[in-house]
Symmetry: C2
Subunit: 107 residues, 2 copies
DNA sequence: AATCTTAATCGTAATATTGCAATATTATAA
DNA sequence: TTATAATATTGCAATATTACGATTAAGATT
């Protein structure tokens, strides 16, 4: 085993889990925070900002791209990384759906 | 390697990542949803609700406990699982901090 | 063309996760 | 005490993740 049995769960559950998983690494949180911080989305200095080797960061970016959270387009010499608002908003909506249900306390 | 270098990141980044990671599996999303659905938080039927073997679910519950999202207290014969509102609210606060920064578009 | 820069990919080692059968634990019921 | 139930733990196999050195790819600069 070792592989998640995605077939057993709903699309929505898998979608939330997929994005949560992508956010489940401090380096990827740092990348997202950095992308939100810089004015332009043209940022060739993520590698200089984070304390990890270039291939490692490239791999983290790939995972953020795979789940759809960020988009990357070539912009001449640099690369333009952007957060995909649609995906993040959808995720936020799902999450707040869960959060609001919390209003009724239990224990 | 293969181990996350948590030392290189801030406590906040690690905290967000830790909870996100715990939510990064559809079974654990299903567990959270179920805990939110049932009125009482005493639920000895998670095993019957989810299409996974009992040891597997027990392990997922353990991970949700480890990151602090849920608490489990012995309640006679059954066990009372509750979502820890403090932890989830803190997480929500962190996340909405990130989400609100999204208001300024880029691309 | 030769070189520099930047980011992606390959290959691989170390470690973590997922899932379950078997077993153990714990508390109630008979 | 013995059985019954519900959950936890152990051990293990299959797979995934993390990290990085080496290399490659592609555009810019000289």
């Amino acid at each position: 085993m070792g592989a998640t049995k995605t077939i057993l769960f709903t699309d929505k559950q898998n979608e939330i889990a997929s994005i949560s998983k992508a956010l489940g690494h401090p380096a990827r949180i740092a990348i997202i925070e950095y992308l939100l911080k810089v004015d332009s989305c043209i940022c060739g200095d993520i590698v200089n900002e984070l304390p990890l080797a270039q291939p490692t960061i490239s791999q983290h970016l790939k995972e953020l791209k795979n789940c759809g959270l960020i988009k990357g387009t070539i912009e001449g010499t640099a690369i333009c990384y952007c957060i995909d608002e649609k995906v993040l908003n959808k995720f936020q909506k799902h999450m707040s759906e869960i959060f609001t249900k919390l209003m009724k306390k239990c224990c």
